[in-house]
Amino acid sequence: MEVQLVISIIAGILAKLWLPLLVFAAIVAVSVRFRDRLGIFGRLWSHGFGTLGLSIILIWSLIAIFAEQVAPFDPLQQFVLMKNQPPGAVEAQSGEMFLLGADRLARDVFSRIVHGSQFVLSIAPVASALALLTGLLLGLPAGYFGGKVDTVLSFAANLILAFPVILVFYLLVSPGVSSSGLPQMLGALVLICPIAFTLLLIFSRYTHQRLKPILLTAITLAVGGWLFAAVIFDADPLGVLFVPDAVLNILVAVVLIACPGIFRVTRSLTLDVLSRDFIAAAKTRGETSWYIMLFEILPNIRGPLVVDFCLRIGFTTILLGTLGFFGLGLAPDSPDWGTSIKDGSAILRLFAWPALFPALALMSLVLGLNLLADAIRELFHED
């Protein structure tokens, strides 16, 4: 009986996941077929940890994309009769199974996990990318110029690193602070970095041309201005992008915590390559400092940065879970994993499933990212 139930639950989950699994199989088939032409991405498929990590990440991403099709129930809907029912209990009205049980508010745990993946997989990569750009923008000059620039920036980075993360979250992500405009200010600072980064790329690349840099600058400023309007002022002229204040607040806090780490990595990597001959050659050619940083140094340190970026997404996922676990910045009924773990751990000794399955979900995603990072590191090492 026990075994039968477990089998039927697993079969039920696989049946619900048919669409993501199908797409996943297609992606795997294509990338294994053409792996010789796909560079490092293709080579990952012949690496044990790499295959495992990529598979986990791909499946989670596909689940997040197809969440509406996968989840059998609304993640917020309560089915009063189902309260705290164990995995495999059948909902009478629809005849559907609660594959992973119901939580104490009688919601379907499986559907909540599926929808929760959307939250993590949309915020974590964006936050990590913003942190990466910020870290690069500050870390490259700190390593390249050294001296006072380095001293000031390193001091600031160490200062943020010395803060206990929980305290930053409590100070930055609370309804009171949210309304004070502080997150908007920090958000503007964070958002300026990608724009500044793009502009620096353009100007250092096309120093001797007229039309191209002006055109590209105009495009960058237009896109940047649109993002600013949408993200900071909640007034998207196109009406496409809307970032709620709460999400902006979370994003800012996570970027703030993640970027000093990237800053330090970038800085030390820059210092490592600074004494190489190609830097001296570029200096002799009379290239500008930013050209050397962006087009000579950056491509040469990309390997460790890619690895760090992978780890950083996992780390950001953990931070988002921490926020949920402390009930900060998110709606109390939000389906994200951290909130579910918090809610479930209050009744953990009586009913394990509401906390256990989101916890395993979070762990598997981060594990996938870390395995991938490890595999990439090894592949770069072989080169």
Binding site: F49, L167, V177, L182, V366
Partner: protein
Amino acid sequence: MFRFIIRRLGVLLLSAFCLSLIIFAVTNLEPNLRNLAVTQTNMRAGDEALDSWLEKNGYREPMLLRYGQWLGVVQKQPVFDPATGQPANRFGFCTDVQEPKFSGVLQGDWGCSTRFKRDVLVRIVPAVKATGILMFWVMITMVPLALVLGVLSGMREGSRLDRVLSFISIAGTATPEYVSGVVFTVIFASWLGILNGSAATATNIGPTLYNFTLPVVTVVFFGMGYIARMTRASMVEVMQQQYIRTARLKGVSFPRIVLRHALRNALVTPFTVVMLQFPWLLNGVVIVEIMFRYQGFGYVLVEGAANNDIEMLMACGTISVILVLVTQFISDIGYVYLNPRIRVS
């Protein structure tokens, strides 16, 4: 060396100053002050009542002035009871200064906790002690475990043993405390029933194997992974050195090579990593304390933060920043001391 230490101490003090100033500024933002006033007046007071409460208790003085008072470089002024005109205590549970005097952190006065309704120092000392016990047990299990894991997997890179142990330590780095806490509680407390799923009793009767194993293991599993990975990388590097090859060609046995020749050089990096782990450990300890209901530093911090207990948060922030900076300092010194090839410039 002496100048190096002096400079690091200077940076340490400057960091602590900046950090406490930032915490002070954020906790004194208008919405946070309002939050404090609401919890302290214990009623649904109107805006005016809240304002007058803040005014009366000195929260409307200029922020820098009050920061100076907290620090002890500006004189604290007594609060007068409007009815009698006599100096009075702001709160029923702490004694305030009765005449203008310097009474801040520098003088040993950490202020008054509005959440716990007593002097900050009275509440935070036992909390730090409790957390110290937890950290001690975490360290004493985590460090040897991580080193053994790392050395075993790093001594023969790519072997099956390496693959298995690497997977375990990567899994560790992927399992934050709130995940491993849940998983371990389900396995060891609910299912097997051999451990206590709460450390609440440890606060009173002290830590035992029964109530303390789960919190310790929970922190250890997450922290261990990273140190083990670093040890492995360092071990792999050492094992590729010329002198190891020489030793092998000489016919020295493999265990002897690992223990006598490689280990000492391979342990320099992990030492610095262990020291830099402290901030993360502190973070994990906070989560674990909340999860297992252990009344330590983390509990005080979270309770204080949730109620905007300004002076308690200042104390928590100061303590953690000093811990972080001191461990960084030790890590730097230790690195130089253990690695004779590097000298302070």
